[in-house]
Amino acid sequence: MSWWLFNRKKANQKSFVKEYLEKAKKSIPNIRSFDQLSFVVLDTETTGLNPAEDHILSFGAVKIQGEKIQIASSVEWYLNSTKKGKEAIIIHGLMGNEKKVSLENFSIQLLEYLGNNILVGHHLGFDLEMLQKALRPVGLERFPNPCIDTAQLAIRIDHGLMVDRNRINFKEYTLDFLCQRFKIKTHDRHTAGGDAFLTASLFLKLLKLASKKGIDNWGLLNK
């Protein structure tokens, strides 16, 4: 990967990116109920927490359709990278033995996988920022997909939309904390696939809770 690409204002959009952007334009009607929605729950493992310096090591995701986690759709991809973050290796236990894909292939696979699904993740913003950085060389500026952050969704369910965010104890909305609260056994933490799977299980439970509060279609969920 050549680093000078990042400094360019705008990369040329590859054809698969254009195709993806075209597909993603289709919006979802507000009245659509949850069991008709299609979600991609994703997580990334990175070399660190600074989007400016760090980069993605692996990507894991699973789809939810009909309010069911589709194990058959689960993926876990390891990225070929020039940098090796020492700390990340310690946290994530990635030793570099996994079969890796090149950045270009990753981009193709990723965009095809994401399609026009709703993206879901815990602190999704960070993952998307990392992904967008990785995809800048192929000409993608930002993901147009609708997004749901499970941390925000949990806060909204507990406190409503109009909450004063200064009064929220964010520690209660970490993935670990929420899994414990919703009795989801945490396995394979700090692997992209494992965290995506946990987030998916959490999301299913949050959706049920949301319907109970009257949030039962896409329009309401997307507020």
Binding site: K68, I71, H187, D188, A196, F197
Partner: protein, 648 residues
């Protein structure tokens, strides 16, 4: 390679049947096709009469209730919890659902596509067998109250592979004797028979000078061709042997050997170096060996036991019986069946041990040949409740002998008793810590002395006497003269009839048993020692029930029933007022036996101590439910035997 998500799903499925029967690859295929859905409490999954979905279901977390609509409302037919599979009728018959299903609590459910599983069903016969046998929940299994022992199974479920469905065990276990008894062609019949008798084998291979097989003579040939025909014993073997024998190469596969035996109706198959009769003999396999290698069915094991006096083989068979036991327990086979099969196996071992002992010692005491004796099993084995090889309790009862033979008889029967005890120890039954065994001179006695013992215990119910009574009153004759045991039983019956007070003491003992639950409804655990913080399932739950059953059945003058369930069953019949309670008590005992045996099998010990912390909520509840009959029965006993007055 599957990713971490698929692996996680596979990991979960793997520990539950029928998924536990799948190979790694099959399991990955199934896991990768699973869909997971979350259900809130009371949410419906399907309704009676709805067409089958293209999935069947596995409970990941939480629980599902299967209910049936009746006029009176909905009856819960089955409760499925973690790892339970349901909705399989759809898989098998593609018929509409016969029950309703709803989440009984917040639950995660795995949906397994029928299409994926069907192909596995076709290929994997064990999985097919599992479903065919109807073990999967949801096929209508009606259970009541305490008999939800399916849950008990999970308490101690073990993740080991299952062995019992294999028809043949590991071929390496199959014993092919390499020491073949051979004889030269010009030997005569008598000499050959002598050799066979000396080596205790049922066949002899006749060979030429190069050790090439020429023929074979078996026990059956001696019977049919020699004795029945009245042939001279001096006839050379070559005239009587079976010629043109079939041989096989010594390193042939087992299935090859076995098929050859079946096809040719051979009881013995001779193996040679190159598989022709023109090379030297190097092994023989008999149908007995084959039988031994065949799976773990009770009939096979018992048959095999009856045909051996070899200690090593007896131990091996007893070990094998334990695998069968584990399978039975894990698959909810009815407890009375399991207990009787295990009792039968234990009894056959004892009978064989008795034969071994007689063979060894009878010749030295010709004057005692006619004296009847009886080997008694005591305690749990006497009650036909011993599933694991926990400690042995036994004794010998022999007929009274004239004075001049007393010492001799004492010596002889003690030798017999000690020998039997040794055989049992060899077969893995540990010795009794209290030395209540037929190797202890105190417990090898003539009938008159035994009568005296019992009269004494009944007349003077000291603490020791009461302790003894809980072991000795449950005796059961195993080997030898059962008539002697009957005489003793009659004596005890008369004595108890005369001294009713004995029952009050027995009642006091049963009433004073330690309570299983503390004031705050927690398990009462051991305060100190090796088993600190563990629950003594034997002393606190099983013994009280066994003691109560014994007392109450004695109070009805019924002496001959010595099994705890059967006692409760009889009591239910004798006292219709308390019928339900007695039935519950019998079931509770059954569940406790199962729990203890599974715990023991898993921990490789006697299963007596259970760590309540390791039990799930449901299992704890199940165990606690078994206690309620204990306190109710104790209350009846307190009133009936006037213990308030008596204890003062």
């Amino acid at each position: 390679m599957a990713n971490v998500i698929v692996n996680r799903v596979a990991e979960f499925l793997k520990s539950f049947p029928p998924f536990s029967f799948l190979g790694k690859e099959e399991l990955e295929i199934v896991a990768a096709s699973v869909e997971i859905k979350y259900f809130e409490k009371d949410e419906r999954l399907f309704l009676q009469g709805e067409p089958a979905q293209p999935h069947f279901f596995v409970v990941k977390d939480g629980g599902f209730a299967l209910t049936e609509k009746k006029d009176s409302g909905e009856d819960i037919i089955e409760y499925c919890d973690q790892g339970d599979v349901f909705g399989v009728l759809a898989l098998l018959g593609k018929r509409p659902y016969v029950l309703n299903a709803h989440a009984a609590e917040d639950s995660l459910l795995y949906f397994v596509p029928v299409s994926v599983f069907e192909s596995i069903l076709n290929q994997n016969s064990r999985v097919a067998l599992y479903f065919a046998a109807g073990f999967a929940s949801g096929q209508v299994v009606v259970r009541q109250d305490l008999s939800q022992s399916q849950k008990a199974r999970k308490v101690f479920r073990n993740d080991s592979s299952d062995h019992s469905l294999l028809i043949f065990s590991d071929p390496s276990v199959i014993k092919i004797s390499e020491n073949v008894l051979t004889a030269n062609e010009n030997l005569n019949i008598q000499e050959a028979a002598k050799k066979m008798a000396f080596e205790e084998v049922s066949s002899i291979v006749i060979v030429n000078d190069q050790n090439h097989p020429k023929g074979i003579i078996t026990d059956k040939d001696l019977r049919k061709r020699v004795v029945a025909e009245g042939v001279s014993l001096a006839t050379p073997v070559s005239q009587l042997m079976t010629k043109n024998i079939i041989v096989k190469k010594s390193d042939s596969s087992f299935s090859d050997l076995y098929l050859c035996m079946i096809k040719n109706r051979l009881h013995h198959l001779v193996l040679t170096k190159d598989g022709t009769i023109h090379s030297s003999v190097c092994g023989i396999i008999s149908d007995h060996d084959v039988l031994l290698s065949m799976g773990n069915s009770p009939a096979v094991l018992i048959h095999a036991l009856l045909n051996t006096l070899d200690l090593g083989e007896m131990k091996m068979i007893r070990d094998r019986a334990e695998q069968m036991l584990r399978y039975y327990l894990e698959n909810e086979v009815a407890m009375d069946f399991v207990a009787s099969v295990m009792t039968e196996i234990n009894d056959v071992i004892l009978t064989q041990a008795n034969i071994i002992a007689q063979k060894k010692h009878a010749a030295d005491y010709p004057e005692l040949e006619k004296v009847k004796y009886c080997f008694l099993s005591l305690g749990s084995e006497g009650r036909q409740e011993q599933l694991l090889r926990t400690d042995q309790d036994n004794a010998i009862l022999y007929d009274d002998v004239p004075d001049h033979l007393k010492d001799k008889a004492n010596e002889y029967f003690l030798k017999i008793g000690s020998e039997i005890v040794e055989v049992l120890i060899h077969c893995g039954v540990s010795p009794c810590p209290g030395d209540i065994m037929a190797s202890n001179p105190k417990w090898v006695q003539p009938l008159s002395k035994w009568k005296e013992y019992f009269s004494d215990w009944i007349l003077k119910p000291t603490e020791e006497a009461l302790l003894n009574s809980s072991i000795f009153f449950d005796y059961r004759p195993i080997a030898g003269s059962k008539l002697l045991a009957d005489l003793l039983t009659e004596h005890i019956y008369e004595e108890i009839g005369k001294k009713h007070f004995f029952l009050n003491f027995l009642a006091k003992n049963a009433y004073m048993n330690p309570a299983p639950l503390g004031f705050f409804k927690g398990f009462v655990v051991e305060k100190s020692g090796e088993h600190r913080d563990q629950f003594d399932i034997k002393a606190r739950a099983m013994m009280p029930l066994a003691d109560l059953a014994r007392l109450l059945i004695f109070s009805h003058g019924v002496i001959k029933i010595n099994n705890t369930f059967k006692r409760f069953e009889k009591l239910a019949e004798l006292e219709p007022v308390y019928q339900d309670l007695f039935i519950q008590a019998g079931k509770a005992y059954e569940i406790l036996m199962r729990m203890r045996a599974l715990e023991g099998l898993q921990q490789g010990n006697n299963g007596r101590y259970i760590d309540p912390e390791k039990l799930g909520k449901l299992q704890k509840q199940l165990l606690k439910n078994t206690f309620s009959p204990i306190s109710e029965l104790q209350e009846i006993v307190r009133v009936r035997f006037q213990l308030d007055y008596f204890l003062k």
